[in-house]
């Protein structure tokens, strides 16, 4: 299973051709456990369908292993497990969102990828302070889009934050 675009081909192409500057305020949104999350599109290098994962020993449970991405071996993280949420069997809508943070390339396994949205800073509120569980420490802010709220994630913390 190679490059399968889950989104409208046009949308994806359009956004990926934009350069660094005009990628501000744009978020790739995806669904996890019925909640909508978002991550800054500038970290996203590609989106692929779920494929064979090779297990790597001695890893935390949320690191599922590694995949072969056109000859490059990259690790993949199951975001559900990272959030401490129950696992869900992968189906044909499950996607791997490949992100590059500080030159580390990691794939994020999510339930479903939604769309790229423009969320200006004025529409983003600070994360709720007290809420525990479900990855609250990875939340960068809460983005309001029309009637809905998207939980915006901090890519750095998602990858590098350790359990206290």
């Amino acid at each position: 299973m190679r490059l399968k675009e889950r989104l409208d081909a046009d949308l994806l192409e359009e956004d990926f051709e934009l350069d660094e500057d005009t990628q501000e305020n744009k978020y790739l949104t995806f669904v996890l456990n019925k909640e909508e999350y978002g991550i800054e599109i500038r970290y996203v290098t590609e989106i692929i369908g779920i494929q064979n994962i090779t297990v790597v020993p001695d890893m935390p449970d949320y690191i599922k292993g590694v995949i072969n991405l056109r000859g490059k071996v990259i690790p993949v993280m199951d975001v559900r497990l990272r959030f401490g949420v129950e696992e869900r069997p992968y189906d044909d809508r499950t996607c791997i969102v490949v992100i590059n943070v500080r030159d580390h390339v990691v794939g994020l396994i999510v339930d479903r990828v939604s769309e790229v949205l423009d969320i200006p800073e004025s529409e983003i509120e600070a994360p709720p302070k007290i809420k525990k569980g479900e990855g609250s420490r990875f939340i960068q802010g809460m983005g309001k889009v029309g009637e809905q709220v998207k939980i915006l994630l901090n890519a750095h913390r998602l990858l590098f934050d350790e359990e206290e």
């Binding site: 090779t54 297990v55 790597v56 020993p57 590694v66 072969n68 000859g71 071996v73 580390h104 990691v106």
Partner: protein
């Protein structure tokens, strides 16, 4: 040895000529262009001036490296002149003319060099040009005005250049001194060393580094007497001069760290050098000299026996096969310079090509089909891919000569320190190895040579008493053998003492007491244990038991091995065996449950399906297999990595006997899949270190397999047993 010398010199000459022609061809047009520009505006592009400056600077450096002193002195003046222009002085047509004349002279000399191999015979012309250049410089410096800012920047830059130049000059002087020592009658070397120190002194004086100036002045005076024949060169002279060079080098390092250079031993050094200059031969008692020398060296508190990277800089400038950052220039060259980044990209791609080719050749879609013509075509593709791979890898290869040469000075100093006579023989220095190996091998070699001198070779009296020649023989050899490069350090000293090592091993709890069955090789291996040393006295050279441990670690990093052979009384041989190709290995793919692991073929001894009677279970529940009399522990990979396995009975699956460093064990797996050539890919840094995994490989069907690090696995298992 003489022929090798000649060949090597030819090679260096060729390299120098190629480089120099390139430089001249590149920049001369710019100088000529200056002529027309100067007539119009006198206003020059800073970049152009820098370029021309660099031309002369590089020429000077390379020429000095090869002792072409005429070229280097001429280009030195030109460089100085260019520097004045760089700082903003107006260039006049007469200056351009001067520069062009300089280039012409250099070209003429280069032409003669091609036939003659020396730049003698042009001193007169050189002197004329040097005078003219110096006049120009003198007249211009009188009118120099600069802004404050420029001054500061320039000082930093000039200091940087001073450091660079000085290190080059000191290295040149050192080389000449070592040659002079071997042939004290050959005063040419004295002259070379003198000129290098003279230039150094000049530069130091210009910058106001008083200490450096004074010391180099004394050294220069002594050398002057020697080269004029007023004093014949004795070994003690060389020793003191070398110490002086080291001190000066330290001073220069201080400068590059931003400090003002101060030499604490300056007074002593100056006195000694002065004394040596004053006396005629044989006046000072040889023993006194030796004592003075020792105190001086000890009081230095600097590891002057360390091989420093500055030396590296000049060495690599002269190597033809060393790629550097330059644009490729066509012309009369047989050599082309390539950005090392490009080489690395190429090598990466070659690695990918090997994987992709395997994915075509082993594609599951092809299973069960009869595809004769296809298979023929694939074989051809395979062959070509391997050829490309070989050529690509060979591009990063560098001869060991540079590294070996540095050992010459090391051996000399060590031997003198201990009053031993040692002759270092170098064989096979033209053997090429990958760049990474060169970088990793220097430290281990230094340790091994120190050990050989310190513990191996006896002092002259003992040797004679044993009926050995007074001068010890130390051989450093390199050769290719079956996909590996072997680096051999051999001495004819007293060999390893089995009893002493055994005793120490028992003392440190490394072996059970009195294990008489231990073979010699196993006893020798003990010396690699951390902290192991049988030296009674800890000298500042060795004896702290740190050396051999580092050696083994460095060699293991290169996936190599160290073999030791020794005969008491006769000597010791150490062989470093390093695989030539670092990134591509032959691997055996095995399956455990749904997982596939790759084991490097070089670690596998054999594989078998055990019979029930071969298996024993100890009281502490350890499984042992007996294979032809040998008892080996079993490691269940599915347990080690906590994965599911298809088989649980040892007799249902396969046992693979693996070995590292004479330690063996059996890995229990479900089945053997097959042998493959694999490209090692590092596991992502994000994952960190994984137990006993050295990397991963992409298999023919696109899936990934973890590559087992057998050394780590065996060690971990042993430690767990306690």
């Amino acid at each position: 040895m003489m022929n090798d010398d000649l060949e090597e010199r030819q090679e260096m000459l060729r390299c120098f000529l190629t480089e120099s022609w390139e430089l001249l061809d590149d920049v001369e047009p710019e100088i000529i262009a200056m002529e027309s520009t100067s007539l119009s505006s006198g206003d020059f592009d800073q970049e152009t001036l820098n370029k021309i400056f660099r031309l002369f600077h590089s020429l000077k450096g390379s020429a000095a490296c090869l002792n072409f002193n005429t070229i280097s002195s001429v280009t030195h003046e030109a460089e100085t002149l260019l520097d004045i222009f760089r700082q903003g002085t107006m260039v006049e047509p007469k200056h351009v003319d001067l520069l062009i004349r300089t280039c012409d002279l250099v070209r003429t000399i280069l032409n003669t060099l091609e036939q003659q191999h020396s730049d003698q015979g042009f001193e007169n012309e050189a002197e004329v040009i040097i005078n003219d250049l110096q006049h120009a410089i003198a007249s211009l410096t009188g009118n120099l005005t600069e802004s404050e800012d420029d001054l500061n920047l320039d000082i930093a830059e000039m200091t940087g250049r001073f450091v660079e130049e000085s290190l080059e000059l000191l290295e040149e002087a050192e080389k000449s001194l070592l040659e002079l020592e071997k042939a004290p009658g050959n005063l040419v070397f004295a002259g070379q060393a003198f000129r290098a120190l003279h230039s150094f002194k000049g530069n130091a004086g210009f910058f106001g580094y008083a200490d450096l100036e004074e010391v180099s002045h004394q050294a220069e005076t002594l050398l002057d007497k020697i080269r004029e024949g007023e004093k014949s060169c004795a070994s003690v002279d060389i020793s003191f001069l070398l110490i002086a060079l080291d001190a000066l080098r330290d001073g220069v390092q201080q400068i590059s760290s931003g400090l003002t250079p101060q030499l604490p031993i300056k007074e002593d050094l100056i006195n000694h050098l002065n004394n040596l200059s004053q006396m005629t031969d044989g006046v000072m008692n040889k023993k006194e000299q030796r004592q003075e020398l020792n105190t001086l060296e000890e009081s230095k508190e600097i590891e002057h026996l360390q091989i420093n990277t500055p030396v590296e800089v000049t060495e690599t400038e002269c190597h033809p096969s060393d790629p550097k950052e330059r644009q490729p220039v066509s012309g009369r060259q047989q050599v082309i310079r390539v950005d090392i980044e490009r080489l690395d990209i190429l090598l990466d791609l070659v690695g990918e090509l090997v994987i992709a080719e395997a994915m075509v050749a082993n594609n599951p879609d092809l299973q069960g089909h009869q595809l004769d013509r296809f298979e023929k075509a694939v074989l051809q593709l395979d062959k070509i891919t391997r050829d490309i791979q070989e050529v690509a890898m060979s591009m990063r290869m560098i001869p060991l000569a540079g590294t070996f040469r540095k050992m010459v000075r090391l051996v000399r100093d060590l031997a003198n320190n201990q009053n031993k006579k040692i002759n270092l023989e170098i064989v096979g220095e033209e053997t090429e190895v990958d760049k990474t190996i060169i970088e990793q091998i220097a430290d281990p070699l230094v340790h091994l040579i120190r050990n050989a001198v310190d513990h191996g070779i006896e002092n002259p009296e003992d040797r004679v008493a044993k009926g050995k020649p007074e001068t010890g023989r130390l051989t450093l050899e390199a050769k290719h053998s079956a996909g590996e490069v072997w680096i051999i350090v051999e001495d004819d000293g007293k060999g390893l003492n089995r009893d002493v090592i055994l005793r120490k091993g028992i003392e440190r709890g490394l072996i059970k007491a009195d294990n008489q069955e231990l073979k010699d090789e196993e006893v020798w291996k003990l010396i690699f244990e951390p902290g192991f040393s049988t030296a009674e006295k800890v000298s500042n050279i060795s004896g702290r038991g740190v050396g051999m441990d580092v050696v083994r670690r460095n060699i293991e990093k290169l996936r190599g091995k160290v073999d030791i052979r020794s005969k008491p009384g006769s000597g010791t041989i150490l062989v470093l065996r390093i695989p030539l190709t670092l990134a591509i290995i032959e691997g055996m793919v095995v399956r455990v449950g749904q997982n596939r692991y790759t084991i490097p073929i070089s670690s596998i001894k054999e594989s078998l399906q055990p019979r029930p009677e071969q298996i024993t279970i100890t009281p502490d529940n350890l499984e042992i297999v007996r294979i032809r009399g040998e008892l080996l522990p079993v490691v269940r990979l599915h347990e080690y990595y906590q994965v599911e396995s298809m088989f649980h009975q040892l007799t249902d699956g396969i046992l693979i006997v693996v070995e590292n460093d004479d330690k063996k064990c059996c890995l229990f797996v479900d089945e053997l899949i097959g042998q493959q050539q694999i490209v090692i890919k590092g596991l992502s840094g994000y994952l960190g270190h994984v137990r006993s995994i050295s990397g991963c490989a992409i298999l023919g069907d696109g899936d990934i397999s973890m590559i087992l690090d057998i050394a780590d696995l065996i060690n971990t298992v042993e430690k767990a047993k306690g």
